[in-house]
Symmetry: C2
Subunit: 306 residues, 2 copies
């Protein structure tokens, strides 16, 4: 799957991913009105608003971008109807040729991790039939439980040609509380990075592996180090834009081949119309504002990788 991701990135000259993390507060009134007229002020209504909003944004930007990253928490908060909207979004984005990174941050052990891997990347067998329940292309995974938690995902990645991004150094202010602590002279994130490298050996597909890593844009020095520690890992970089990461900070995350990283922006794209900069679009044209924000992000990032 990393091969398909790279192909999409190269075709569109766009090492970016749009985070589909819809909050109701981002969604323009006219979209909510349409959804609530259909389903009332219910979880179904909220899910419909999320879906209409996503669809409009995806329609407006899909030709510019290689991938999307729906954040499942934002759907899960609307219960079952929310998860139905998540799945609808995954399928719709596939129909548009996009790689779908399920930002699910799952992680457990043994048969439980295997169940999560089956749910999001693999298949389950029911009697004589086989189903792919959520069928994302990549999933984000938490490493705290060690190899027992990761290996079931790696096994599914090998079998189904899918991928994972393991949390290594997250973009948030308190990520250092544990991740930066020094162990035998190395920070924990570096040890996790070394393990990502090891977990990825079995799933190399060309220069890169189907086991990637999450490293926040807000810590470029750590990005530089981790780039060296995990030469074959694709790095998913959150934290650009709304969280404070700047384009100039992104260079260390890329390899000399101009590949190796994909930069996420969520709020900065999907709620662009709320920014001063895009205010002229108005809430009516929120999707066009998102398209302009993607174009501006690309113009900002492309020079960094030459």
């Amino acid at each position: 799957m990393v091969r398909k991701l790279i192909q999409n990135i190269m075709e569109k000259n766009a090492p970016v991913v749009v985070g589909l993390d819809p909050m109701l507060s981002y969604i323009p009134e006219q979209v909510k009105k349409e959804a609530f007229e259909r389903y009332g002020e219910t979880l179904e209504g909220a899910a419909e608003a999320v879906w209409l909003y996503n669809k409009a944004i995806v329609d407006a930007v899909y030709d510019l971008i290689p991938a999307v990253k729906p954040q499942i928490a934002m759907y899960e908060q609307f219960g079952i109807p929310g998860i139905i909207a998540y799945k609808k979004t995954v399928d719709y984005c596939h129909g548009k040729g996009l790689v779908v990174i399920g930002d699910v941050k799952r992680g457990d052990i043994g048969s439980t991790s295997a169940a999560y891997a089956a749910a999001h990347l693999g298949t389950v067998t029911v009697g004589g039939k086989t189903y792919a329940p959520f069928d994302e292309d990549f999933a984000t995974v938490n490493p705290y439980l060690g190899t027992d938690g990761i290996q079931p995902f790696v096994d599914v990645c090998k079998k189904e040609d899918k991928g994972i991004f393991v949390l290594v150094k997250t973009s948030n202010p308190s990520s250092g509380e544990f991740q930066d602590r020094s162990i035998d002279g190395k920070p924990l994130y570096e040890l996790v990075g070394e393990m990502v490298n090891r977990w990825g050996e079995e799933t190399r597909d060309g220069a890169y592996s189907n086991v990637g890593a999450v490293v926040g844009a807000t810590y470029p020095e750590m990005g530089r180090l981790l780039r060296k520690v995990m030469p074959h890992a694709y790095i998913l970089v959150p934290g650009y834009g709304a969280q404070g990461g700047k384009a100039a900070d992104l260079a260390p995350y890329f390899n000399a081949d101009g590949l190796g990283a994909i930069v996420n922006s969520s709020r900065g794209i999907i709620a662009a119309y709320k920014q001063e900069r895009y205010a002229s679009f108005g809430a009516e044209h929120f999707a066009e504002a998102s398209r302009q924000a993607v174009e501006d992000m690309l113009a900002d990032i492309r020079p960094v990788i030459g």
Copy 2:
């Protein structure tokens, strides 16, 4: 919520929780047959089998136990129908007076963690209406992202009188890869334990806090240390039974008051009928086998806490 949990534990003299982690391979043929006749060999059929199986087991054991711990991965693997069965199980167990620990191991940052907390423990507002989407009583949470990931859960726990169990030392063989690594002379799990203590200060309700911890039964010496590090945390103890933890290993997880820990068994209870020991029940009487296994577990554990 820890108060309600303790009340249930004391009423039933049972510091145990039954893990509702159904795998299709555990479910007797006659239950699968009934479900597949109704819905075919589909995800809906699998979810129905899971639900029928859970319901029979809960009906057979609810009067003996204070709490259940459904493992959401086992439901998520059946897609949307699986998650509907999860929610049905949560609601059914509430109807039986049980405390429900959602074993979801979620964890993210900021507004995303807040969305998970709302989904599982709190409420969301849609227009003028408010909903509690999954409405478990406790959720398990992953600490790798630090305070930014935990605080949104703590906030919801305070507002809604709910609780969390933070992963500190997990029961799996590779849990030591990161959790046991030494930082300034202390293992990482101890640092996480210290943070659990700090996160829990705001939600003390009597001797215990609504912020608890997960510490595996398979590491009793670490349990002894962590009991001291987190005097007010309730400890959820997985790994008893099928994973190899013995009753004699459990004493260090309890406080002198005979409280402070709740021991989970999943496969050992719900798939008891598959064990040599309970084979005489037969697959037809799988739920009675589960009841006997709960009684045997209680007889095994009660002497440990005096």
